[in-house]
């Protein structure tokens, strides 16, 4: 009833594209989150005045369209003779992009922990680091989780833009198949379904953690 020229091989080709999407996303979210946590702590700790230079730089990464960042970064690394692979350039740009958003999420989470709660912790003799580790981190994580999940899903979709640097990720694989097979709707449907399949567990994980934590609050 439904004729398609799509073969198992083509599906495998799409799966490899999805693998690339996952790899770029995983590296960028991991590195971006690590940086975001550090920058977020700096922003929360030193206040708006002293962290203004950091905020300014991160604002650039948040406001310039990702595609422009990717193309500029790629050109820059070529001029500077870094010799980066497109994968490396993509991950660097996406990591900074993620870090810029993650910084705000982390700062918001830290600021949401009441000063009085932290004071109570310090009054017991906990050091600043212990307060951060045992009181602020768990409470801020709870507050930040929904936004962080949203960021991760966003980065996953935005990572499609790395195809402009010549990386064959999920969307690019689909485009190649569309060009070859001339079945755009069907292939894009499958491509969309794969995006959904990867995103769904992440979204559910967020929901699960939120439910697990909420009865305590």
């Amino acid at each position: 009833m439904f004729e398609t020229a799509l073969t198992l091989n083509d599906l495998w080709f799409l799966a490899k594209g999805a693998g690339m999407t996952l790899a770029v996303t995983a590296v960028s979210v991991a590195a971006g989150t690590a940086m975001g946590v550090i920058f977020g702590v700096i922003r929360a700790q030193f206040g708006p005045f002293w962290s203004a230079p950091l905020t300014f730089v991160l604002d650039i990464f948040r406001s310039v369209p990702l595609l422009i960042q990717l193309v500029l970064a790629n050109a820059f690394q070529a001029i500077a003779k870094f010799g980066w692979e497109p994968f490396t350039t993509s991950c660097v740009v996406l990591s900074l992009y993620t870090a810029a958003y993650c910084t705000e999420i982390v700062r918001g989470g830290i600021d949401a922990v009441p000063v009085t709660t932290r004071r109570a912790a310090r009054s017991l003799g906990l050091t600043w680091a212990q307060d951060m580790r045992y009181i602020v981190a768990p409470l801020a994580t709870r507050v930040s989780l929904p936004a962080w999940i949203g960021l991760t899903l966003g980065v996953m979709k935005d990572s499609a833009l790395v195809l402009w640097l010549g990386l064959t990720e999920l969307l690019k694989s689909s485009q190649i198949l569309v060009t070859r097979l001339q079945e755009p709707l069907f292939i894009l449907l499958i491509c969309g379904a794969i995006y959904f399949l990867i995103s769904f567990p992440i979204a559910r994980l967020g929901g699960y953690l939120e439910r697990r934590w909420s009865p305590n609050d």
Partner: protein, 240 residues
Amino acid sequence: MIEIENLRKSFGALQVLKGINLTVANGEVVTIIGGSGSGKSTLLTCINGLEAIDGGSIKIDGVEVHAKATDINKLRQNVGIVFQQWNAFPHLTVLEDVMLAPRKVLGVAKHQAEEIATKHLVHVGLGDKIGVYPSRLSGGQQQRMAIARALAMQPKYMLFDEVTSALDPQLVGEVLDTLKMLATEGMTMICVTHEMAFAREVSNRVAFFHQGVVAEIGSPDQIFGSPQNPETQKFLSGVR
């Protein structure tokens, strides 16, 4: 012994403490009374080193709290403080909350910390609340938990800042009873309070704060019976 000498503290242009002198001997219970904004809370947070000071000194067992060389976290182990607003850690159960500081600050082993925490929770009457999260506790129970948490560090000194002011009236009694129990056991305490009957009952001395100075200090009988300072008289006639 807590020795406060000519303590001065400002927030920006606002001078809150204008030369406080107060000595609290071991085993003594000193209550501080006085109008809102007279600097009572500020004094307690300075004693615990949570606030920097602008002049004078606070010595605890001879160690200057605000000296650069002082290990403030070590010093705080000896000086428990409980605030007006209870500050339970919402992600920890009552037991975990009370265990945290003994484990992380004193480095006590887990089972031992559990023992210590349980002992103090039972002491303040929360033996049956050990596994629950603070959101399931009433204000009075949270406040008693905060007391147990401070006590679990086995401090020599306890500072209480209006610990019953934010409580519903019917919960005040249980917390005051806990404080009275500590006083009877010989804990050295500084209590800021608006509960005059309580102050009269437990205090060795009562200090009346007015505009950042100790306007009058003496035995409860003297302060409540025959206050000398007109400001004290005015304040006491106001609260009665």
